[in-house]
Symmetry: D2
């Protein structure tokens, strides 16, 4: 294991109605607009150590433009680029801007775009938002869900194992768990992490041919009670809870899912194990073992099969395949050719 | 035990700067102004079933005008009045107004004024504030501490036992616990209740001769995590926490105390036992048994000796007497003559 | 409203394998055997103020023998008996025993047996189990789920409204909520209470003709985190979670359900509103409003249709009727003839 | 930043009465004896991923033998040893044993002994203790405090800055915060971390000349409610709470402190921020800013000045210096000569 990335710092996503999205993220979710430029709006949660964690850009359909990761050092950035290019992919260096230094932007083998950088401003709150606590980037918000910070992104791909192995090998993620269909080669879920939790990068099997799809991204709240309060406030203010509150078996993380103004799925996440084992060996869970639902008694709603941008084919779910979608997804899963990517497994 | 009162419904308190108090209660505490009339402002918490729970009236010094209790029935109101007058005190009937039917207002033997009533409007939220849940009076607030409802009042009196016995005998409160100095007749704290918790009416020994003083009143939040969040938000927005978060031994209730805009002490309260024993016999705790501090390792700050309106003499605290105040308070305590009040004990 | 009952004190239930039940209740649930006599085992939770809350008696099938309620006074016991007999039902006085004074045992109009009493020992722990806290009946248990005390019973009956009105009118319960099918006369759920929560007596529509069935009974834990811990411990020790953790819309109570050694359903319950409105008017919820599932996105498992003793016909659920059972249950619901029971509505 | 250590795995401590310590750690704390050899007892918490986290060895006085850290890779172990020896200290390689591979044991500049290793067995529970969850090393315990795993060690040293800089530079800890006396060069507290929390290695100013003292070590529980339950169970079973429950400003971690059978201080810890900033710059807090007490209203008890093995001179506290100890500790603090240790700052 070599640790090249320190953390997920922000996601850039499409807003089908920019002003409505800004209203939703500020009024309901409880983020704050840091600043806007010609075509982007930069939003932050009160506990983000860097200037922003969500960037909205106008788009035709909901989906992810890119996810951004800070490396662990300047050298780690160079090493990451070296490894990416050695793996056969080429990105491009982007000039400093938007409070970041120069960054490297590339699209990986399954169509997801990542921005990697080392230099970044640390967020410094203006006086009226300054916390009483020297180590807090901003005073705790009391508005809306008031998540503390960004937590993770879960993408959809036609090859879960291939995706996981590529990012493990090239960028040094720990691979924490798989979930698969028993007695088949079909792996429908995988989790990668740069930190102590099971994932800051989740991976779901995608039945479509659309590259680079996102299934959801997640904010962190400090406690399970905050998560219950989030659910209550969402319902009271007109947002349906798509799934949860519940608890995942993988990672023991509390969750709830809902849709934001453009229809993209957001998770609120809390709790979870703290796992520091550098040579952790990923277990391949079955749905029956509670990989998605720790309590093993809840059925995922069909709508959880949707990823973004929308496509006619379903994804798998963190719980397995939905009846009627197996054939399609098993075919996808069977197409998995990890050899093209990594060789040491 | 006959249960005449169903619950504490509201407190009327003085505001030394009315507009500043309104701002504080709405911005920081997270109440909402229901309405104002010539000289009063009526505020409510989102979970109050009746129209308002705090009434602000301009005054020279912080303090309590009155506390209001709804009876369990129209007959209970009549019976309460009969008992009060039989005990030698006389109040007066007040005409319907402020969303209440006729009410009886009297000042009891230790100078505290109570308003008793049966008829009252049940709160009905306007459409934009209506909850998704038919049994909630209003949608959950996400602003400020957002307490759910009023919880209790704790008064100060020169005779704790006399006060407790009077209200037990005349209005049917359950007397749940005392706290006193070991090996002395000095009782410095007592708790009365109309419900399942240890108190909606607390009673502290007062070293002053000022009648009718209040020590604090309390709001309820649903969970201990809400209480921690309240403490965090208070500090982040410039209000010092006078004492807590902690947990009382008596009643097992989580607490924190702070001062509102006029300097009056407010508690945020949660948790606690659920006790339905109709013939509960009050135990007389000592401070060392953790009556105030369940964990038995915290020292109350001296400022907790202050009651309202201010007076040069201290009160006792829920934990006992503060060094240097014993003589004064023990003399007070020794003056206790319960026989003048009730006869069956 | 006249309040005759102070609380539910214990349930007596059948154990199909007595020793296995004792093991389950002590090892898994975390109760303690207070004592045994010729054919009964008396169990208590650490926070029960009275000597025991669950009585096991050998039986052929799981089910409830009786539920026991303490009155608010000796006079209330007499008044309760007077009202029961006036309503056309006759019970019998039982001699003092099992740490109770004389009690009145009767079977009401829908076949459920209640034991009413005033005199009872208050529990006094032996020295090795005595709490550090004078007002706790026993030291907090650290074993198993360690619920604090008994919370409620939910029965099944072929006439929800009839049952609710009878117990409201005769024993003075507050009737807090109904749930019914929209646009039909079918009411499938109702809640009665003697306290501040939505129910200590729940009422579900029963499709069978078996009188006196029970759907589940519930223990209380202090916090939602205790409830999550309960679920975790149950799963870790081999008990499936039938339904939950979740949160009811009616009463805002956190729940989970599982089956004990004889197959009877047990709930672990926490949270909830605190409602003291003496003239509360029960709203009739629909399933879609979240009466059972606050978050409105979970489907009850079919097994929740089972009540005890088992019968071929289903009950309704707290969420409504399960597809395929409507006709049967609607016929039952349509048979409701409240006039035979109470006249003032 | 180079990350050489993956985590703290175990502490080896003295037990003045070995059997009594074993009883205390199993009955009260809720650890489990993994195994014993000639003179050591190996204990584990249910969530430890490695075989054990506490090792008891008979001793004359309470204190720490050593703390053990797993590296991030075999190469990191070699690199750590290279750096230690380059810094002028020499340890020795220990043969494989006690479920570890070969390890390097050295005593650093302030007298604390560390054991570093890469190879270690991963814990595999026997069938009767196996969790339902593939990624849990053992089923959740329901006995005693049942902490999930070891969390951190806080040592005492006569030179806080020197200690922090040495371990930052040589072993790659992140240095997260200092606390010091305003307007003096005295730094009384510092925190080092290998993970997302503020510390797995805390550093307190020591007024004694005894090298290698420990102030406390800490277990992790998943939630603040678990921590409150821990406090309750400790008190109910006869262990005084020395300090807390409370919350630190540095790291926002919930805490409570008590003493185990040999008098050594143990902390129960939960909550806290998640901080992944690789180039975090440590802020130097003052006590008034709430470094120790987030709520800024609690006074540390004098007993918190004691470290182990006992010495007549006090330590500082995480809150600052206790009145009367300043001169002694300021002299110590003034002796700090960081230049002797690291040169690049």
């Amino acid at each position: 294991m070599i640790k090249l990335l320190s953390q997920l710092t922000h996601v850039e996503i499409y807003a089908t109605d920019l002003e409505e999205s800004v209203r939703y993220y500020t009024d309901i979710v409880g983020l704050r607009v840091l600043e806007r430029d010609a075509d982007k709006v930069y939003l932050r949660a009160w506990g983000d150590y860097y200037p922003y964690s969500v960037v909205l850009v106008p788009g035709e359909a909901s989906g992810m433009v890119s996810m951004a990761w800070r490396t662990t050092s300047p050298e780690a950035l160079d090493e990451a680029v070296r490894r990416i290019e050695q793996s056969g992919y080429t990105g491009e260096w982007r000039e400093p801007g938007a409070r970041l230094g120069k960054s490297y932007v590339f699209t990986g083998p399954y169509g997801h775009t990542m921005q990697l950088f080392w230099e970044v401003e640390k967020y410094k709150a203006p006086a009226e938002l300054a916390s009483q606590y020297p180590d807090r980037p901003e005073k705790r918000s009391s508005h809306g869900l008031a998540p503390r910070h960004l937590d993770h992104v879960t993408i959809a791909t036609r090859d879960v194992v291939g995706f996981c192995e590529y990012y493990r090998d090239v960028l040094g993620f720990r691979l924490m768990a798989y979930a698969g269909l028993p007695d088949t080669p079909v792996t429908f879920f995988g989790v990668l992490t740069t930190n102590e939790k099971s994932h800051d990068l989740g991976v779901l099997l995608d039945g479509s041919d659309v590259p680079g799809r996102i299934h959801h991204y997640a904010f962190w709240v400090d406690t399970h009670e905050d998560l219950k309060r989030s659910a209550d406030l969402l319902l009271e203010n007109g947002t349906r809870i798509e799934y949860g509150p519940g608890m995942h078996g993988i990672g023991e993380q509390d969750f709830l899912y809902f849709r934001e103004a453009s229809g993209l799925r957001i998770e609120v996440n809390s709790g979870g194990y703290r796992n520091y084992v550098p040579d952790w060996e990923p277990y391949r869970w079955s749905g029956a073992e509670g990989c998605d639902d720790f309590y093993r008694n809840v059925t995922l709603p069909q709508s959880m099969l949707e990823a973004f941008p929308p496509a006619p084919q379903p994804t798998a779910t963190e719980q397995g395949l939905v009846p009627g979608t197996e054939d399609e997804l098993i075919v996808r899963g069977a197409l998995h050719t990890p050899d093209a990517v990594g060789s040491q497994h």
